[in-house]
Amino acid sequence: MNIKKMTKSVEFWVFIIITLLSVLIHLKSGLFFTNNNIVDIMRSMIVPSIYALCAFLAFISTGPDVSFPLVGALSSYLAIIITNLLGGNLPWIVIYIIAIAFGCLMGFLNGYIIVKFKFSSLIVTLGTTSMFSGILLGAFEAERMDLPTNLHAFGTQVLLSVQNKETGLGATLPMAFLIMVVLYIIVYFVLNYTIVGRGIYAIGGDEISAERAGFDVSKIRIGIFVFNGALAAIGGMTYAVLSLRYLPTEYAGAEMVVIAAVILGGTRIMGGIGTLKGCILGTLLLNMVTNSLILVGISVYWQKVFIGAIIIIGTAIPALQVFMKSRKSSEVA
């Protein structure tokens, strides 16, 4: 009974695909299950999985949010510029907090427009993305720049360092990994153990019923977008910290991959359904594949084809399940 229930969940199938693929990659390259490769994959997960939280929370409560790369880029730019104006010696956590403040502001703008005018979140966040990029690149003329000393130092702090005994290759997991872990713990707790968490799923599932059940739809929705702004700011700062350099536009355009990963993990685009477990598994799957294609010797020209195929196959599984279920129920009827 329990196993039957398990096989029905998307997360289970994504997990199976991950296991199969990783074994395949290891058989082909002999390099997958090595301590340095595992650490490398964990490192490469940091920023995508922070951004995946943005996409995930927006989907389950409201709809698509595509603004997070630009919210991240603009808020971290402002934080770094302000830090430099103040002499550049602020502790890294304070620089993060400045970025988070700006991120919340931008998130509030998203949420307010969506709630107040009942616009589609896709249209609104596309619009604000364009605005933020105009402000960042037009008004501020942001360019690549070096990080303030403390932020740079934070980027070089090591949480875990391993060396492969056979090949001698080293890999390091930066301290920033903990930021991602903490964020997932917070979101997990809020979603599963608080009334607000219930409300987030409820308003995404059926807005009117949620309102009748006593949830303040507008407040929760604006709250989600403000929180998303904060997450995006943390994502943007962390991206800069990991690259040891501020890069204004590099993540722009990657939002679609993040969103694909979240959908892969079983989050429903129409709202109300999705788990944090699925969100992280989907991100792991896509990230693992993107970062293993050279390991198995796939040429540059075929890499995009493979990534596309994984997205389509991965998302086909839940769709197929829904199809099977509906056929079954129609048979019963």
Binding site: S44, L169, G170, L247, N291, I294, L295, G297
Partner: protein
């Protein structure tokens, strides 16, 4: 029925040819001035009366400050007045404004580094109609220019990158190459030229990944370049050399190499200031580029030589009189492009001399 169709076809064609001939008679009525004939630009003004204007993409940028050094050398040498100006914002529209105001000031020559060649075509055409010499740099697709000047061909630069890499890694061992996008023409030209040069001159070197060109795409992202570099290094822990031609590539490859504690020589394309820490630590063994100082000097020199009638209309090349630009070859494409052999090599030994 068939006959009717044939007749209508003949009539249509007849009408079309009439249309054509009337069109050509119209165009022959236009005043025939060849804007690209160099003799039309020769002036009898004395050196003291000449003004050359250099228009950059962004004058606050270190790259163009370096260019100004070359311009100043030209001024000191010839006594001709040169004004170097950049747009208030680094966008095409602001650059058009700068060019237009310089045309109104009746300068004798405009040397432009275009932000967007297409956007400034009308302004440059107007300048040439007003008898102003127009020279460009880094704009091989610019139509309205007497000459575009380039430091080197993509082939020559790609070969030079390979020569540096071969030198740094002792002409033996495995190497990999990264570019921004396989769809980027220039980058693919660099990559192919690197490979061809290696095949021709360094038989003991081997391109990894079954000689696929390139080994990886960085998509102009430091993070992607870093991830791809790590993958390539994992598959080839015995790699000896790595090239990256986008400015994002070499620092990211160097970061991966340092973290994985490997001994790999990295040759990159970019500016000294961006790469300084890695060049100083030795992970980026060589930095290849061209010197904007020389580019500034060459543009001014060429403009002044055209004004004084020292440049042949159908000459096969040009001598700007400084190293790397002594026998610039002429390539006729969209425009007439003069190409030097002026790749610049920067290592930990001479990086201190460059600040841009």
């Amino acid at each position: 029925m068939k006959k009717g169709l044939l007749w209508s076809l003949v009539i249509t064609m007849g009408l079309m040819s009439v249309g054509c001939s009337s069109g050509s008679s119209e165009s022959s009525n236009e005043p025939a001035v060849d804007l690209f004939a160099l003799e039309n630009y020769v002036t009898d003004k004395t050196k003291e009366d000449l003004i050359i204007a250099v228009v950059t993409k962004d004058n606050t940028n270190n790259w163009f400050r370096r260019m100004e050094e070359g311009v100043n050398e030209f001024v000191a040498e010839t006594g001709i007045e040169v004004i170097q100006k950049g747009p208030a914002n680094a966008d095409a529209a602001s650059q058009v404004e700068v060019i237009d105001s310089l045309i109104n000031q009746e300068v004798d020559a405009l040397c432009v580094v275009p932000i967007d060649p297409v956007a400034i075509e009308p302004s440059l055409k107007r300048a040439m109609q007003a008898g102003i010499v127009v020279i460009t740099h880094e704009a091989s697709n610019q139509v309205n220019t007497l000459f575009d000047t380039e430091a080197f061909t993509a082939e020559a630069f790609g070969s030079a990158i390979m020569d540096s890499l071969a030198h740094d890694m002792g002409e033996a061992g495995k190497y990999a190459m990264m570019i921004a996008y396989t769809t980027s023409t220039t980058h693919m030209e660099y990559a192919n030229a690197q490979f061809n040069r290696q095949k021709e001159a360094y038989p003991n070197m081997e391109l990894v990944g079954g000689e696929a060109i390139p080994s990886a795409e960085s998509q102009e992202s430091i993070d992607t370049a870093y991830e791809r570099a790590k993958e390539i290094l994992k598959v080839n822990p015995d790699l000896k050399g790595f090239t990256g031609v986008a400015s994002t590539d070499a620092p990211a490859i160097a970061k991966a190499v340092e973290e994985m504690k490997l001994d790999v020589k990295v040759v990159g394309v970019g500016t000294p200031n961006e790469f300084r820490p890695y060049v100083e630590s030795g992970t980026i063994s060589t930095l290849k580029l061209w010197d904007p100082k020389d580019s500034g000097y060459v543009m001014c020199k060429l403009a002044s030589d055209i004004l004084s009638g020292n440049v042949e209309n159908n000459g096969d090349g040009y001598n700007a009189g400084i190293p790397g630009y002594e026998s610039m070859s002429l390539v006729e494409g969209t425009n007439r492009t003069l190409i030097g052999e002026a790749d610049l090599t920067i290592t930990s030994e001479n990086i201190g001399e460059f600040d841009f």
